[in-house]
Symmetry: C2
């Protein structure tokens, strides 16, 4: 039994229960901390991770084979995320406080004094991802958002990097302890059975997940069929189609080919935003350029043997689709880690008509460095392809830099459908590399996610772990401080005076 | 076969499909209307309902037996709601537009230009409620919120008032048609099978429901087990416990007894916010006062024979619980409608210990004019009762008008639990009568609702039918107008300049 296997043994049931007890006990106190105090705690966690970055990166290099620069950047992203949520807490508008003062002249009779804000849900179960050992793992975006909201986090580690997970968890727990956060605010469990046990537990009030459609859907079904169903924020599979207009191909074909290859092979194609389908105007030689460039990309180690195996199986399905040609056949190397390294594979599906006909196989995510190209003519139904995709994190559109009226008119329907089937429409850039900002949206209709209203990247991710509570006609001394007349926490609030009845909260 | 039965025949499957086609076809256009144009359409619907109020009230009186004043008030509430959402649309901040300008100096490398707003989900299926033939029915809060968001609505009528439903639907359709809204923006279907067929249809992107736990859970399960699961906003059952402090009982016992009786018998107890459990300090004679006052409440007709039957069965369960005494035995009268009229029934469960022991029966909603009283001593575990309730729309607390330190200290834990198990904490008023405002929250943990983050009353109800889309690096001419640099729609927007990276969106 290898070290990895030992580290990934299931947390025993009694121990899972003990950690759930602790999370449940921590929830009221952690949730009651003033936002600025939780901001300090998040900053302390970020500082501790920065201080431990060298060890963390070394551990992750050993376990994942990912390059040092990538992992160093990912630790940075992780601490930036934590500090960004600290900023959200200091700003305070995330609480969306609205105070409607009593209004005896309201159209439907006297309106009572009502004060609404958002409160934390309670303990959150986070399933870590395989492909981001830091930024979507133990101290990643879901954990940062839930802790910021005031929810204790029980983290189910990913088996792909168990040692890195434990090291990170030790740093997080220790930093939180030093800030005075209650025991149980953060803990780790390992193993699939332990994760499912926790997901079924009534103390868990929400869960977040990043991973495959099959795994995510199975967990969503458990969350939804509980006696008390809970929100399940699953970020599952995504095809991320990219469309190139004739004008764009003419203007900068080579640059587009380079950008596409760099994007679909980044991280050995193991990103949820990998552009998996490229739609090119017929009559260019762009697909050959793409194949040539991809042929120059060296093999890169996959994240786990299991992911490599599934990737191999999917390649086998794709190659057997009628009308599909292999433009580039990826190579596979084994090293001493036992996890293969692979170079890119590229398919040509022929026409978009053929792509649509075999959409069940061709328009499904393949996690790894492969992509499918199809070619369209002006009369072809590109919108139909987007409809067939159903739900995607992103749609990419490569246009000319200054689209003229004719190009704009042709794009009109396509862009409307892009917004309907995805959460982010990218122009003249590529979808990999998801900026962590207020305006980011990393989500989309199923199967991109199981919760179409929400994002798992950016500041809006905090909304997933908050729910409204309204106080009606409360004596001031019995209100939470955030809602008291004197506003002792100095929070931003919308106050509607009598007569403002139709004003919306911000 | 009665008129009611004929009107409630299932809409044939082919006709359900045709209406879903129409809703699907209407979605892009209705969703593209500028918010101010949709505001005008909602105002037009409100005007048309006001103009038809006399006929509507007459139809509902015949079908439901509810009194004229109540129904007239409810039509008013319905049109106020529609106009309130028109106000939300004119304000525009509901779109929560955030623009992050490109930032080459961002900590994680150049940040692209990102612009986020909210877009309508698509066709929404609304299941009308039994107990509000207008305000939670055809043109009720769910319909108003979904139409405001830009979603076509397919309304599954409640069998308790089918004629009123058709009359309302004709008015809504006709008013929308006059504003130029696309055909299919609103339509009606009838019958349970038709509703389930629509819920399973891939064109439906969300559903809203107000009704029983059993019915709501069955529909939630269907929505969650679809190939593409959709949000299901169910407002189900609620016990709405009320606690009276010793100080409050001493200060104004009689007033509290009067308020409680008026609230739990309002509308024959058929409100989702009916206070179903009253916790009194031991050693007062408040329970006798309550029973005396309730004895003076005349029988009121139930909404439907089915609801009356279920109510009768629940009374039978309650009376058989060990330690439960009947303080007041309700009478039942039949009139020519075939739907019985009932007077209030009141149970005394003894101690809160006994209430807790038999919580499976005693702490479950009974839809109708009954309530359960229990008495507590200072040492009793009131918080345990709230924990046993699990999820409730409201918790009511009757305190002295100026609570002193000792009363506040005793309430502290109880109030924290009240906020954890409910969506609205009511002080020194009663939970029935839900104000329609920005700060209102009509929701709560399961089984109060199936979607703990959301409200079905107040302006925030629109959020249920909107999802984010972000545009990255888009040429200005290809952006939706709402996101273009010149802001041609004049919408409120948060703009983050380079360096503002940690600022939250509002």
């Amino acid at each position: 039994m290898s070290t990895v296997d030992q580290l990934d043994q299931d947390t025993p049931a009694a121990e899972v229960d003990r950690r759930l007890d602790a999370a449940g006990a921590a929830a009221p106190e952690w949730g009651r901390w003033a936002p600025r105090s939780r901001a300090e705690a998040l900053d302390a966690v970020a500082d501790a991770l920065d201080a431990g970055a060298t060890d963390l990166v070394a551990a992750a290099m050993t376990e994942t084979g990912l390059p040092e620069a990538r992992l160093t950047g990912e630790v940075k992203r992780t601490t930036v995320q934590l500090r960004m949520f600290a900023g959200v807490l200091r700003d305070g508008s995330y609480l969306r406080i609205v105070i409607d003062r009593s209004d005896p002249g309201f159209a439907l009779g006297t309106k009572p004094d009502l004060r609404r804000w958002l409160v934390p849900l309670g303990p959150v179960l986070v399933f870590a991802a395989s492909n981001f050992p830091f930024a979507f793992s133990v101290a990643g975006g879901d954990t940062a958002a839930a802790l910021a909201a005031g929810c204790p986090v029980l983290l189910k580690a990913h088996p792909g990097h168990p040692g890195t997970s434990r090291l990170t968890a030790d740093i997080v727990r220790s930093a939180l302890r030093h800030t005075g956060a209650p025991e149980g605010t953060f803990d780790l469990i390992t193993g699939q059975e332990a994760g499912v046990r926790a997901l079924r537990d009534p103390r868990v009030t929400a869960a977040a997940f990043t991973g495959s459609v099959a795994g995510g859907r199975a967990l969503f079904d458990i969350a939804s069929s509980r006696k008390s169903p809970i929100p399940f924020y699953g970020e599952l599979g995504s095809v991320n189609p990219a469309v190139v207009t004739a004008e764009a191909a003419h203007e900068r074909g080579q640059q587009i080919a380079e950008g596409f290859v760099a994007s679909f092979t980044l991280g050995a194609g193991q990103f949820c935003t990998k552009p998996g389908v490229l739609l090119l105007p017929r009559g260019t030689d762009l697909s050959e350029h793409v194949a040539e460039l991809a042929d120059g990309v060296p093999p890169a180690r996959m994240l786990t043997a299991g992911i490599a195996q599934r990737y191999r199986e999917r390649l086998g399905e794709l190659v057997n689709v009628p009308g599909v040609k292999v433009l580039l056949n990826g190579r596979e190397h084994a090293d001493q880690s036992g996890v293969p390294a692979v170079s890119p594979t590229l398919f040509h599906a022929g026409s978009v008509h053929n792509l649509h006909e075999h959409r069940e196989v061709l328009l499904e995510e393949n996690f790894g460095p492969s992509a499918v190209i199809a070619e369209y003519t002006v009369d072809d139904d590109l919108a139909g392809i987007l409809e067939a995709v159903g739900g995607s994190l992103t749609v990419t559109v490569q246009t000319s830099s200054r689209p003229e009226e004719s190009e704009r008119a042709r794009l009109s329907e396509l862009l409307q459908l892009a917004a309907r089937c995805s959460g982010r429409v990218v122009f003249n850039e590529w979808p990999t590399g998801v900026a962590v900002t207020a305006a980011q949206h990393h989500g989309g209709p199923y199967p991109a996610t199981t919760a179409v209203l929400h994002t798992s990247v950016g500041t809006a991710a905090i909304e997933r772990f908050l729910r409204p509570v309204t106080y009606q006609n409360a004596p001031d001394a019995l209100l939470p401080r955030a809602l008291q007349d004197a506003n002792p926490l100095g929070l931003p609030r919308t106050v509607n005076e009598p007569g403002d009845s139709f004003r919306a909260d911000p």
